[in-house]
Amino acid sequence: MTKSVFVSVFFHITMIILTAISLPFMKRQPLDLPPILSVDLIQITDTTSIPFAAKAAKTLEKLKKKEEEKRIVSEQAPPTEKKKEKPDRIPLPEDLDKDKKKLIEKKQNPEEIKDEIRQASEFEKKELFDPNQIAALIDKSKEETVETLKKNQKLTQSSVKTSFVSGLTLSEEDALKAQIFGCWSLPLGLPYQENLLVRIKLRLKPDGTVLRSEILDHARMNKPGQSFYKVLAESALRAVRICQPLRVPPTGYERWKDLQLNFDANEMLKG
């Protein structure tokens, strides 16, 4: 009897102890939420446009040096030095006057020669048509046509390209596009079957004004039957000039100081 009482008591005590131990585990734990992190929204390019890590730069330079040391470089002999020849004629007083005038102009306004004016004169130089180089022009034009064709094929891809590649965020690119759309008066007499792509390379100032502009397919202007191209290129340049200062991001000047605008009239004219 006593034995059975002891067994019963033992088991009861065991049960009570087990219950006492296991009960706290039955209690519900609060949700384990991650701590709140504060996140600063920054533009992708601010981080991705960092040229490269300092370490990586050093490694790259070292590797480049080694590669260059290994490379066989073929060099052309330097041209022989020529003695300065005496002028074949005595300068006329008019020429002297011209030189003087230039000097005077420089003295008077050393800083007044605007970059844009200088650019216009560069164009004039390029527009000079040398009939002796027709063959060169033709050959070049062929290359350029192929290039332009390739460019055209790429256009659809480039339009999908992400801000990561372009260097401008989508919003920055959109702002710039919207600004230029408003300034570009498309010449309406353009032949819509032709390639109507004008590529203009710009060097900008930090405030978005144009320091230099260059039409990349400039030689096409002088090609026979392409007079419309000159008109189109001029309209694109006009748009850039009317629009300036361009709506560029306030930061990251090094990133966008060189900009290429691809004016393509085909899409609009063909509908």
Binding site: T48, L188, G189, A239, R241, D264
Partner: protein, 445 residues
């Protein structure tokens, strides 16, 4: 391994160094704002007479015509003269571009006129206001009575420089001048400048005349005349006034047109209810039959290179447009749309064919490619037909008739023009009613 590292690093770096490219695929299609400053009159100049009128300020008159021409083209927006800050005499020497930028002008026209003795000298300059540079500078000398033509030639130069295609202002239009009630119309051949000025009548109106067409040199005109009630194709020299019948056909000849080299006339010849297309060499007078079909083949028109001919025919049952080689071989039907197609005219550019379409009682003027694809209807009306191309292939001129009322009144026939966009439709003012217009090529090439 090294190469892999280089490649990896290069790939990582290159995007940040790449030239940023932005694609501009849209612009505005607004007409270009242009300021046409009145041409400065040299104070020593004499006044000139234009008919009974004495023109004192010839420079201003020339600038007005330039302005009207550019505006009518639909591609330019000439700015109001009241807004001009700079006076013509100074503007001609050196424009203050800031003043012109202020009124949003993108291009500027200045000039100077001098009349001494029987010579009118007109200088003009076209400036790119935004780039602040001169882009065209020309001078013309002529007799004073030619001042309107000078204005048209200047308009052409401006148009060409700013649009990239040839202009069409220094041209003439030949048409059939109509007077009298609908049941008893008097029809005369008339010729005028493209803006409706300088009208001259070439026939007296004693017989019915139809479908006049210019030769490529603009010196000859071929047309259909019912002289002595015999409908025949005639040839008229505009300068001498001499006219002659083209060939001695034993039936009716009609719908004539010159070949692009001006050496042949292509026309229809009808006999016994059947009409075919023929050509006649103007030098040798040799006649050649081009089509040979039991149907009605008419309205032939050469392609600009002279290798093809478009015409309309009812050989398929309904009137449709066909294209064939100039020797009559390889005939192909190019229209398959609903309705009837007629009066095909090949564009001087060679890319398009203009036509008249009749569908559900309405008349349309439209264009399509030479293979019949890309049909575009430019304008719709109660009755209109006979399109003719401007020499640059951008504008079409045609005529439109209005409905008469229940009493038979209110009928009129007017000349209209429309450009390829289909938006720039304009009435061409003429002294009388007009029909069957035909545009000349540029007078000054």
């Amino acid at each position: 391994m090294k190469k892999l590292i280089i490649l990896f690093i290069y790939l990582f770096i290159s995007p940040s160094n790449a030239l940023i490219e932005v694609d501009i695929t849209r612009g505005n299609l607004n007409p270009l704002p242009i300021a046409v400053s009145p041409l400065y009159n040299d104070p020593s100049s004499e006044t000139i007479k234009d008919g009974d009128q004495i023109i004192k300020n010839i420079g201003e008159e020339i600038s007005k015509i330039i302005e009207i021409n550019l505006k009518r083209s639909g591609l330019f927006n000439p700015l109001k003269k009241e807004s001009f800050v700079q006076k013509p005499d100074i503007a001609h020497i050196k424009p203050r571009f800031e003043d012109w930028k202020l009124i949003k002008a993108q291009a500027l026209v200045t000039g100077k006129t001098t009349i001494s003795g029987d010579k009118l000298r007109t200088e003009f300059r076209l400036w790119d206001v935004v780039a602040a540079k001169e882009i065209v500078a020309l001078a013309f000398s002529t007799t004073p009575d030619n001042w309107r033509r000078v204005a048209h030639i200047i308009s052409d130069k401006i148009y060409e420089r700013l649009t990239g295609e040839a202009g069409y202002f220094d041209t003439r239009i030949i048409y059939v001048s109509e007077t009298g009630p609908k049941t008893q119309r008097y029809k005369k051949l008339a010729i005028m400048d493209q803006d409706g000025e300088n009208v001259k009548y070439l026939t007296l109106g004693n017989e019915l005349v139809l479908t006049p067409r210019f030769s490529p040199t603009n010196q000859l005109v071929t047309y259909l005349s019912y002289f002595r009630n015999l409908p025949r194709v005639y040839l008229l020299d505009i300068e001498t006034g001499i006219q002659e019948a083209v060939g001695d056909f034993p039936g009716m000849t009609f719908a004539p047109r010159f070949s692009p080299d001006g050496k042949k006339i292509i026309m229809s010849f009808a006999k016994d209810g059947n009409s075919d297309i023929y050509t006649m060499d103007l030098d040798s007078r040799v006649v050649e039959k081009i089509t040979d079909h039991t149907s009605i083949d008419t309205s032939p028109s050469y392609s600009p290179d002279g290798k093809f001919i478009c015409f309309n025919s009812d050989r398929s049952g309904l009137q449709q447009i066909y294209v064939m080689r100039s020797d009559g071989s390889n005939v192909k039907r190019i229209t398959f749309g609903k309705g009837l197609y007629g009066t095909p005219v090949w564009s001087p550019r060679g890319d398009l064919i203009a036509f008249t379409k009749v569908f559900k009682g309405k008349f349309y003027i439209g264009v399509m490619r030479a293979d019949g694809s890309g049909e575009r209807l430019l304008t719709e009306n109660f009755y209109q037909e006979a399109p003719s191309w401007s020499p640059n292939g951008r504008v079409l001129i045609f005529y439109r008739e209005t409905k008469t009322d229940s009493e038979g009144k209110g009928f009129s026939a007017k000349l209209w023009s429309i450009d390829l966009t289909g938006y720039n439709e304009r009435l061409i003012e003429t002294e009388t009613d007009g029909s069957d217009p035909s545009w000349s090529s540029l007078l000054s090439k």
